[in-house]
């Protein structure tokens, strides 16, 4: 226990880094994924094609490769993110946005077509129909799959450890290298750190799900 107390500042900072990576990337991914899905269902062909291309590229590329590209690949085109943390956020959100987009699209497809038809018949344009009628209903049906995306994202943040961000996984490496005798304790502390993020999320998702359910 003394060991944990000694290393508390490192563990706390690492936990906060993991948490903020997940939360900030989650918000960015939600915004980007919503824009992408609007493009994917829009009546404009080129927008649909662009969004489909994005989703297929990011969904089918290993996250580590996305990290590599954003950390080093973009030097080639004379670009660089201001910090390693921001690089990690960019990689996590651009990758996760593809999954958010697909989760939302399944939700949009679950909204009966008559809903959008009724909105269009009232004179709402495409954007208004999407914003006021289709997306609010789609979001409600995708709470469980979006919850899965969120939990996957929370765990995917660990790849940032490989790119010099001191998150929980990086703390695990550092502490276990220096304290081989305390290995189990280090593991337990790190796992608890992740569980503190993911377990309450699962509970929260269930509560949101019940709250926003639509009776049909």
């Amino acid at each position: 226990m003394q060991f944990l107390a000694d290393n508390f500042p490192l563990l706390r900072d690492a936990f906060l880094t993991t948490l903020s990576l997940a939360v900030i990337s989650g918000i960015c991914a939600l915004v980007l994924g919503t824009i992408l899905v609007a493009m994917r269902v829009s009546p404009v062909g080129p927008l649909r094609a662009l969004a489909t291309f994005y989703v297929e590229v990011f969904r089918n590329t290993p996250l580590t490769v996305v990290f590599f590209f954003l950390a080093f690949g973009i030097y080639e085109i004379d670009l660089q993110f201001p910090s390693r943390f921001i690089t990690a956020v960019a990689a996590l959100s651009s990758y996760t946005a593809a999954f958010v987009c697909e989760a939302l699209r399944s939700g949009i497809n679950a909204v009966p077509p008559g809903q959008a038809e009724a909105a269009r018949a009232l004179g709402l344009d495409f954007g208004q129909t999407l914003r006021t009628v289709v997306l609010p209903q789609a979001f409600r049906t995708v709470v469980p799959p979006l919850g899965n995306v969120w939990i996957a994202l929370a765990k995917n943040t660990s790849i940032a450890a490989g790119f010099a961000v001191t998150d929980l996984t990086a703390a695990l490496q550092r502490l276990s290298n220096a304290n081989a005798d305390q290995l189990l304790l280090v593991f337990a502390a790190i796992v608890v750190g992740y569980l503190v993020i993911t377990l309450p999320s699962a509970a929260l998702i269930r509560i949101i799900e019940r709250r926003v359910a639509i009776i049909r």
Partner: protein, 254 residues
């Protein structure tokens, strides 16, 4: 004082000329010509698959057409975009399956169009919505959600929702076909009172009683064509085409 853009009285409000539509190889609308005057109530009947619902849906371009022209109040139906949205706001539509917005209350269903499309204030839109809900007899349900209402109530709300836009013409696409028999009349009564108030209506229906009571004209369709078009009395007592005679003998003689 009439405005310059508004056509003279007597000009048809809705005009379809040479309208053709295909679903793949299926020629669902074939050279359809139809003109509907202001205040006219036209009932479209015909066997299933005759294209009557498709015809109704082309008038506000929920279905596009491949050939021909449709104009409303002298304005040709635009392709996609803001102009189409504006034109649709003048054409009320009532669907077979009601299509009330499931995540909004009854009152919000009726105020959505006026607020988002007409730019009305929430207070004005709500005041008008309550009047309309009163008129169709569901004012007590204003704060409930659609799923909490019976089918007949939902369809009456759908009529109020369309009326809230002050449409020039109302389209009814089999408005009573999804209803339990005991709820059909409450919806028909609302429609009959609308017709009496002078609303221009195009009604696709199997309700012959409504056609007799409220229609100025009955249009009989078969195989994507308008086969016969006459006043209800003539149509029901003395149809000219064999196809209409056959259809009527099947639905009226039991």
């Amino acid at each position: 004082m009439t405005s310059v853009t508004s056509p003279a009285i007597g000009e048809p409000l809705v005009r379809l000329s040479g309208v053709n539509k295909w679903f793949g190889d299926l020629h669902v609308l074939q050279d359809v010509d139809l003109a509907i005057d202001r205040g006219e109530v036209v009932v479209v009947i015909g066997p299933s698959g005759s294209g009557k619902s498709t015809l109704c849906r082309t008038i506000n371009r929920l279905e596009s057409i491949e050939k021909g022209e449709i104009s409303i109040d002298g304005v040709k139906l635009p392709d996609e975009g803001k102009q189409l949205a504006r034109l649709r706001s003048d054409v009320g539509m009532v669907f077979q399956s009601f299509n009330l917005f499931a995540h909004k209350t009854i009152l919000e269903n009726v105020t959505l169009g006026p607020i988002k499309v007409r730019g009305k204030s929430k207070a004005d839109a709500e005041k008008r919505a309550r009047q309309l809900l009163e008129r169709v007899g569901v004012s007590a349900q204003a704060d409930k959600y659609p799923a909490q209402l019976s089918g007949g109530q939902q369809q009456r709300v759908a009529i109020a929702r369309a009326l809230a836009m002050d449409p020039k013409v109302m389209l009814f696409d089999e408005p009573t076909s999804a209803l339990d028999p005991e709820m059909i009349n409450e919806v028909l009564d609302v429609m009959i009172s609308l017709a009496r108030d002078g609303m221009t209506m195009i009604v696709v229906t199997h309700e012959m009683g409504f056609a007799r009571k409220a229609a100025n004209r009955v249009v009989f369709m078969d195989g994507g064509r308008i086969v016969e078009s006459s006043d209800p009395e003539t149509f029901f007592t003395n149809p000219t085409s064999d196809r209409a005679k056959d259809f009527l003998s099947k639905i009226l003689n039991h």
